[in-house]
Symmetry: C2
Subunit: 446 residues, 2 copies
């Protein structure tokens, strides 16, 4: 059903009558929901994206913008006529604005903020106190709440009036607004109306603190078995909730962010960002890596005289570097995941180091022998085989140790190891590898 759109992106794009409102395309678009439209818009080159944007009915536009990643969204924000915004902002609420704020120029942000009613303004200010990394920034205010002295009949009255998505419990708060208990809605139907809700509330219902890290909370909400969990401020006051859909969006953003970070990009990267913007964003990462490559070169440069006499060393350098880099990235990837899951702590890092050291030792010996023999046969030089074998062994061991230490130390200093871990790691393995290989070559082969 709702899968119809992604499968037809191809068709839609290739149709030349994209902007005729009577076309087939228009029919497809009318059926699409905001998530699908957002994905479709992101997948289009900029000109086509703007054309399609203009055919989307105004009442859908705000929801579509909210679903989009911020880079591709920015293109559409600039392409929207100033007079259109009042229509778009008609029904905007605090959550919408929190999501959009970064993409709006100051003047537009102010128009949107003005369009909020008093309560939404208060919600906005409250959530905006928390940075984007903290879950307090992403709370919603659609939930069912009653005072702790409420009865089953009050609960029934409440659920007859409204029922926000993913609502399976009613939150109970005390006089100061502190979260107290949660009552499963399913129970309301089978209990006498005069019973107190506190008599049927759940023990130990999970509570989220607004300052907790977004992705950890997301996982907790998703695995809790409940549709949403309550969020409290530092005084235990109930300020909102996180439901499974919001949690899923946070989780997806987190993982996509991790994957993009490994290539020095971020989750908001646009498939079709303007060439200059894209080139600039990537240039920084290329520059950082260039510095580390020059460092490796500098170390090689120390052995120019050796290379001149034994050119085979130059030929085999990529093998030494590659084996260290790959072995290190395996350990690194495993440890980064362990850190994210809070499974790697100071209590088990010693045991991990010892295990990775042994794995590295075993693979080091195996590949040292294999590569040593290949080098011997290729260049008909047993000493060269010995030299590369020892270098490979040392580099794989160094890779294993760096694969544990680098992410653990970065994490300790609150630096995301998914972003910078592999640059630092390959710098280590390049240097160890080249110095060991060329150094031993200088000793044994000259």
């Amino acid at each position: 059903m709702s899968e119809v759109l992604p499968d037809r992106i191809e068709e839609v794009i290739s149709q030349s009558d994209l902007y005729s409102e009577t076309s087939d395309t228009a029919t497809v678009l009318a059926q699409a929901d905001e998530v699908e439209l957002a994905l479709l818009l992101e997948s289009l080159p900029i000109q086509e994206r703007i054309i399609l944007w203009q055919t989307i009915p105004d009442h859908k536009k705000l929801d579509v913008l909210i679903e989009m990643r911020s880079d591709p969204r920015a293109v559409l924000v600039s392409a929207t006529e100033p007079e259109q915004w009042d229509v778009l902002f008609t029904d905007i609420d605090a959550e919408d604005l929190l999501e959009l704020a970064d993409s709006l120029p100051q003047e537009l942000f102010e128009r949107a903020y003005t369009a909020l009613d008093r309560l939404q303004k208060q919600y906005y200010t409250e959530a905006d106190q928390y940075p984007e990394e903290q879950i307090g920034h992403w709370i919603s205010h659609d939930y069912l709440v009653l005072p702790i002295n409420a009865k089953v009949r009050d609960g029934l009255r409440l659920i007859r009036r409204e029922m926000p998505r993913h609502t399976d419990v009613i939150f109970l708060i005390n006089r100061s607004g502190h979260f107290s208990e949660a009552v499963p809605i399913a129970k309301l139907h089978v209990l006498p109306e005069h019973l107190h809700l506190t008599d049927v509330s759940l023990d130990d219902f999970p509570i989220i603190s607004a300052v907790e890290e977004g992705q950890l909370v997301a996982k907790e909400v998703l695995l809790s078995g409940f549709g949403a969990l309550p969020v409290v401020d530092e005084n235990e006051k109930l300020i909102g909730r996180i439901d499974v859909t919001t949690a899923a969006e946070l989780m997806q953003e987190y993982y996509e962010g991790q994957i993009m970070a490994s290539a020095g990009m971020d989750e908001d990267e646009d498939l079709f960002s303007p060439v200059r913007k894209s080139a600039k964003g990537r240039a920084i990462w290329l520059g950082i890596n260039l510095l580390t490559a020059f460092v490796a070169s500098a170390f090689i440069g120390m052995f120019e005289a050796t290379i001149q006499q034994v050119v085979a060393l130059a030929v085999l350098m990529p093998v030494v570097a590659s084996m260290g880099g790959i072995a290190g990235s395996q350990t690194l990837t495993l440890i980064i995941r362990g850190l994210a899951l809070k499974q790697v702590t100071s209590a088990n890092v010693g045991a991990l180091l010892s295990k990775e050291f042994k794995v590295g030792g075993l693979n080091g010996v195996i590949w040292a022998v294999v590569i040593g023999v290949v080098a011997l046969l290729w260049f008909n030089d047993p000493l060269l085989g010995l030299v590369i074998g020892i270098a490979i062994f040392l580099n794989i061991i160094a890779a294993a140790l760096a694969g544990v230490f680098v992410p653990v130390i970065l994490d300790k200093y609150k630096i995301d190891p998914a972003l910078s871990g592999s640059v630092i790691l390959t710098t280590v393995t390049d240097i160890v590898g080249f110095v060991a290989f060329l150094g031993l070559g200088t000793v044994f082969l000259l």
Copy 2:
């Protein structure tokens, strides 16, 4: 609340009285849910893991095993006494067994299967027809269902009897068991009891086909705004549902799988797998990468004579290889995400290629100049600067094109680009880089 455990892993592990049931540790463990226990067990070295496992009450053990990744789980399966399994399998159902099946030796699997009642056996067989990649494998059978001629009063009666987690609608089926409509439970409370449910059902409720790909369905369920979506077989018969918690687990496994694949590992990798097993698993990936490194070496070997005369070429080789590899991995990562989101199709691949070509061209020119100047100053040789500049430019362009083509072609042949994309890509950039650099060096510098 339920966050208590991960934070205390450290404490728990470091306590020497881990296996005294009267200790603090025992108290902490008693409060922990199965997800937390699974995470904790995975984070322990094997001996400690087995000791802790033995202190977990039998009635929790099956649920804990189900939450674990399969490699660390296998350790505990072998450490469990044969006579214990009958207790563990007491309440096993089809979903549990589908999750565990791969970790159980044949004999244990048969005991578990025998413990299922007739209905659960049928569920098992039904779901097991679908491979793990398809959503049909992961369906659950806890949902509310009524015939299409049912009335509001039937709905109310049903929800008073049972209310599975994440249930916000009742599914309606026709006489042949085909899914027909979904009725929001919230509406039942406000409608006359004699009304037909079909009069208040939702239009266009999303339906999942059992053969759809797990991770795509997971996203759809999570973003649908509903607690669960119905799954139908190829005859449109309702066979189960996927709720948001199952969807979240599938999504997490998918993303972790992508991240681990980039280092040639899989999502089930154990932090503390036995050294030999771990070394063996990683050796394959090291071997594949070694082959590509030898290919690069072979190309360098073609230019031995040149290197001997201009050793600076050997010194600068890592710079050429590194810039190509990094630029390529940026494009690759962006395209892999686009493919996963179904945003990259044959309709826009041309436009993407053209954009990446331009981005590569721009960054190629910039870094060619920077690196050319550095080389000139370092080795005081303008021709060397020219040679490396041209090689860098060509390699960044090649990287951009390979970054688009490699994943698109792999995807077309159903090979996961997250696993093999970067090996192939760096092989391309290594060869292009070395041949361009050393080849131009041979022409201009000899």
